[in-house]
């Protein structure tokens, strides 16, 4: 019925008493997701939301008491790598970092640790994973999706909301929406999500939303041409930046590798992917 999380997922929240963590944990609870507890170091033993959720000092205690297997992270950027490593160490299967702007070298340490573990990291700077009507592990605005058979994967959170909103207005439902995150270094990429969607019996079509920087979309393209049988529709924002006046402003920041700018669309077309030039074209291409 979904990828990465499902109705049986036991979701915990790291940083459940912070400003953002508290607000969005309540949103998740309201959406009917199976939230089992959270951590807030120093406040173990307390309860939040009128006694509905237990608070623990450590992920270890939370996992022991609740069997949590998904963790959603809201702690501040400087503490996020530590929180991810704590989740990895305690066998959390799916770790979702909502927090973004993580120090680059912290993420390098996390990437190295992930290689030697069975955990999957979504994000950082991810809106989370949403299975409409079943579970919302993250910060997706409520009520922007219908249940359905289209899998959505996006690098950007806000663009993902835009697309979900467009799909809903055309009456198109979603199996799972995943935001893989907007930070320079992230956990799972397009390729992994495409693979998961390909094997998900409840997903019939896949929408992929890319953007400038790196060559993740091109890696996905070569994977699609060899391994994906389901129709893929892609929207890549910023392709026209390559020829525009904007180019020097992006290359100046130095972080964004622009080698692949303007080439992503053609790479995806070669792989048999349908390209939407505008967001509004996505529903038409899905119904084709």
């Amino acid at each position: 019925m979904s990828i990465l999380i499902n109705a049986d997922s036991r979701i915990m929240v790291q940083g459940i008493t912070g400003r953002r963590g508290r607000f969005h944990s309540l949103q998740m609870l309201k959406s009917g997701s199976q939230i089992v507890g959270g951590t807030s170091p120093g406040r173990g033993g307390e309860w939040c939301f009128e006694g509905r959720l237990p608070i623990f000092d450590t992920v270890r205690e939370c996992v022991e008491a609740t069997n949590a297997d998904v963790s959603v992270i809201f702690v501040p950027p400087h503490a996020t790598a530590d929180a991810i490593l704590e989740s990895i160490d305690n066998g959390i299967k799916t770790i979702i970092s909502i927090t973004g702007s993580i120090p680059l070298q912290d993420m390098m340490i996390v990437k190295s640790a992930l290689k030697n573990s069975d955990s999957i990291l979504v994000g950082p700077n991810s809106p989370g994973v949403l299975v409409p009507g079943i579970a919302n592990a993250g910060i997706f605005p409520s009520d922007i999706t219908l249940q359905g058979n289209v899998g959505v994967v996006s690098r950007s959170g806000t663009l993902c909301y835009e697309v979900l909103d467009t799909l809903k207005q055309s009456g198109i439902g979603v199996s799972t929406a995943v935001g893989i995150g907007d930070d320079p270094i992230i956990g799972i990429d397009f390729l992994t999500c495409l693979e998961l969607f390909e094997f998900d019996p409840h997903t019939d079509k896949i929408v992929m939303i890319g953007g400038p920087g790196g060559d993740n979309e091109l890696k996905a393209a070569s994977y699609i041409s060899e391994n994906v049988t389901k129709p893929v529709i892609a929207y890549v924002v910023g392709e026209r930046f390559a020829t525009s006046l904007l180019r020097p402003f992006f290359s100046k920041s130095g972080m964004l590798s622009l080698d692949s700018l303007g080439k992503k669309t053609s790479g995806l077309v070669e792989a048999g992917v349908l390209i939407a030039d505008k967001l509004s074209e996505i529903p038409t291409l899905i119904n084709k």
Partner: protein, 381 residues
Amino acid sequence: MKLQEYQAKSILREAGIPLPNSALATNAVQVKRVAAEIGYPVVLKAQTLEPGRGRAGGVRIVQNEDEIENVSNGIFKLVLNHRPIHSILVEKAFTFSKEYYLAITSDLDAGTPVLRLSEAGGATFLEPESFRDALVVEKHIDINYGLKDYQIRELMASLRINPIFWKQFQQIARKIYAVYRQFDATLVEINSLVESTQDQLFALDAKISIDNQSIFRQGSFCESFESANFSWEERQALKFDVDYQSFPGDIGCMVNGMGLAYLTLDQLLSLNALPSAMIDIHGGATSTSISSALEMLLVDTRSKVVVINIFGGMTRCDEVAQGILQTLEANQPKKPIFIRLEGTNGDSGLESLFNNENLTFFNTTAALVNAAVAWQRGDEQ
């Protein structure tokens, strides 16, 4: 944050990497005095973060005292990408036989540091054509193990570098990796690293970029560079935890999230319009940072209209509205604000803004941007 050459060199010198003698000067009289102390011939190097310094005549060798004032005055008159030159690094000139490129860079897709070495170092190395043809070898480094000597050896062996230099290469590579780690750098680059006539390696030019997301923990060291390398807007942005990017257009934009920034830019471009600035307030911004971001756009005389494009996930629209109201209560804006506010707590956000006469509301990114461009063009006519 990119560091200027003199800043990067002071870090490398501190780390024990051999560099030619040099000192910074901010006027022609100082240049002359410093050159006399260092001893001719000297190289004068314009200090700037803009590319194309060499081609513009910003790097000049001076053989003796007779020419020095002329040459340094010429360099101080240079303007690169609208930015004047405020200082010159005066450096001992050097005879050398071979130029290497040695760097620790960051591979964002793999999420690792990378050691990179080439025999084809020098001024043209980073230009696309020569970079493509040059033989460059590299090693990905597992940050949890650190850079190992065998990795450096493998690269040197594959380029058949003369073993009499191996020990020096190893020491320098280890030191720049230590700098990369200590200063949360995304890049530490020596281009070029040269063999002197005494078989000594020297770093002639150096580039260091610091990860903006780590500046908060780099403390006073970074603060001293921020004022030299960042504009007022960039420093404000850092203080209020937003991203600021200046552009040569005339529409001030505020968005939440990089994707929405790109979408807004894309829509502007499709209408042949450009922003004056793009501020990304990130997810979950507080009303204080939203208020400060809006202020930056309102005081910017380059823009005639402000566009706010918010689709809240972690960002709460009620908090955005609060931030906007804070700014509008403090000062009456001289230009209209076009806004699209959707997502988490969207209704309560809109409700609190609806009566404000400075604001015009839209439902989609396209409608918002189209209207702003139309207004801006109507205003010009």
